[in-house]
Symmetry: C2
Subunit: 124 residues, 2 copies
């Protein structure tokens, strides 16, 4: 794993390591109770909503690979690719703000189109 | 603009400043002739293909706002939000590898879904 002097990145990477190992409880220990996450489908508010967003994704996750990670005192960015059951390559970026050792804000970027297409193909 | 000691980030930010000012010629001066770009719709190879990808986007761009930017000697990540004619908020992340002062590889992440939806709405 990348060594870093960035406190925000240490939290982001610990969170990433946990959820990509499908350890949702440990991942959620790095998420603030009042997290705000701007995800492709809209804004999520609160840890329960965030868990409901990430939980199903960990279920379909087959493999994740970190592409890049950077951070400073309060902000970190992680870029990674995921292999999931419906989509063979779904890269994502998370730009997070860390407060008191937990992710308080997240800008979550990925392409929904291949997931929409896979869902439509299954529905037919 | 962010000051940085990262050579890769200096190139990425100069490129970003140019294309978000709709100065495609200057933006392309930071793109390697043999650029490889993994974009949501697939892999683009070569500067001409990259220009054909970015050109139409600069035409619909109304405003861009940098959210975060980080880099080291060879890699940079920029995260930004865009306001475009069809989509009011379309955040994106670009993770680039810089070689000889130009972007040689780019992993380009954004959500195609709102653009697809806007196109479908226009088509009806």
């Amino acid at each position: 794993m990348t060594e870093t002097t960035s406190p925000a990145l240490r939290v982001a990477l610990a969170y990433y390591q946990a959820w990509t190992s499908r350890d949702l409880d440990t991942a959620m220990s790095y998420i603030a109770d009042d997290i705000v996450c701007d995800a492709p489908a809209g804004r999520l508010q609160g840890a329960a909503a965030y868990r409901a967003f990430m939980g199903p994704f960990t279920q379909i996750l087959k493999h994740a690979e970190l592409i890049a990670s950077f951070g400073d005192d309060t902000t970190a960015v992680i870029v990674y690719d995921t292999e999931t059951v419906p989509v063979p390559s779904a890269p994502a970026a998370e730009c997070v703000t860390v407060r008191d050792g937990k992710i308080a804000y997240s800008r979550f970027i990925f392409d929904r189109a291949p997931f929409d297409a896979a869902r439509a193909a299954t529905a037919t």
